[in-house]
Symmetry: C2
Subunit: 212 residues, 2 copies
DNA sequence: TCCTTGATGTCAGCAACTGACATCACCATA
DNA sequence: TATGGTGATGTCAGTTGCTGACATCAAGGA
């Protein structure tokens, strides 16, 4: 197994995170990352297709988890509920490394190239979730929208979780986001949404802040 | 005004689209684009920050339209309805250039870098829409989710519109997507969603195919 | 002991992008 | 009408991300 120093991949990832925090994304060079990991630029590109990719190696694992969770759910579960519970099944992963998640998120938020990469990873998750739903007989358009809605809930809940000074659990934030989404989409869509809608959203907001 | 050949920007955009279609994105070089437009690589980078950006100059305009439409809507309108109608206000732009939209979409779909860029543009639209909603007094979490839901509907409707052999209008596809989203999020979220949900989505699917 | 194998290094090269400076067409205005 | 300013473009050199081709080197097996 280990003829050279082991865990080259992990070493590269850690070196990258450190340098991104120290110098920022643009000013850290791939050569620098590799050097800190005791490797060569060329080797970096054997592990990661991209300079960006070094921050996203976990997403493959995440995708697998989500797919499995959707497939394991009882087939009678409503599409969006399948997705929501699958996403909730992934929360322990993040909960274990809250501090790391914060740092990583700060780095990503600071650079557009990284935000792009994150978005496409999330889109990929949505695509995988939609495919899983279709496998269970959900119609394609329904599956797509349920998956995208689920991912929106995930993103939203994740953001609130990372910023939450009270450190309430991620799953609670995600549930709150889901409730909120349901409230938002519950409107009539056409006739006289006057007071009713306004009240609904106000009530929802308060309720969210209490329950999370 | 025009001392040199006018419309350098437009020339670059057109040259880029042509070359992307002829050679694909990776095999066309910025130098090649500039040459076809009668300009220099350096000049290309004065108009576009990126090789990718040459395909997305319209998004600023789109963002402006959406913001205006949201701000003009009556303040009693529900958040998601504001967003939906704002998006619908943009449909004529696409409807005018359906053929172009198809080509462009094919180019983007074929290359990950371009898909990333498109995703961040859409995220930017969602952010702008959310900001507009907040300006009207909508609570932040509600605004975010309404905006994201709206964008999901937009994407979804757009995809269906582009692929629709019957060439039904974009706005109809978007309305259908919105209905579908409402159906998907209408579930209970917890207790015995058995038959009920399944039936709902099936009914929804049929209704969609008929009404669009 | 030799040979295979997989991880790494070396080197050359292209293309995306940037900064600094030059040029050139037009316009105003003296 | 000459002159000088201005904004769009060109030129050039340089960095960095990324790739292909080939060399090397440390195990482990025949």
């Amino acid at each position: 197994m280990g003829r050279w120093e082991p865990n080259a991949r992990a070493r590269l990832e850690q070196a990258a995170m450190e340098l991104f925090q120290e110098l920022g994304y643009t000013r850290t060079t791939v050569e620098g990352i590799a050097a800190r990991a005791g490797l060569t630029e060329r080797t970096f590109f054997r592990y990661f297709t991209d300079k960006r990719e070094v921050l996203f190696s976990g997403s493959a694992n995440l995708e697998k988890l989500i797919i499995e969770a959707i497939e394991e759910a009882p087939k009678t579960t409503a599409p969006l509920d399948s997705v929501a519970s699958a996403l909730e099944a992934t929360t322990p992963i993040f909960e274990e490394r809250r501090a790391y998640a914060r740092k990583r998120r700060a780095v990503i938020a600071a650079h557009a190239e990284l935000r792009e990469r994150e978005l496409i990873k999330l889109a990929s998750l949505a695509g995988a979730a939609a495919a899983s739903l279709r496998k269970r007989g959900v119609a394609a358009p329904t599956a797509d929208l349920a998956a995208e809605a689920g991912i929106a809930v995930f993103r939203n809940g994740f953001e609130r979780w990372v910023d939450d000074k009270l450190q309430r659990p991620l799953s609670a934030h995600m549930q709150a986001a889901l409730k909120e989404l349901r409230a938002v989409t519950a409107g009539t869509g056409s006739s006289s949404p006057r007071r009713r809608t306004t009240n609904t959203s106000r009530r929802k907001r308060t309720r969210t802040q209490r329950s999370v």
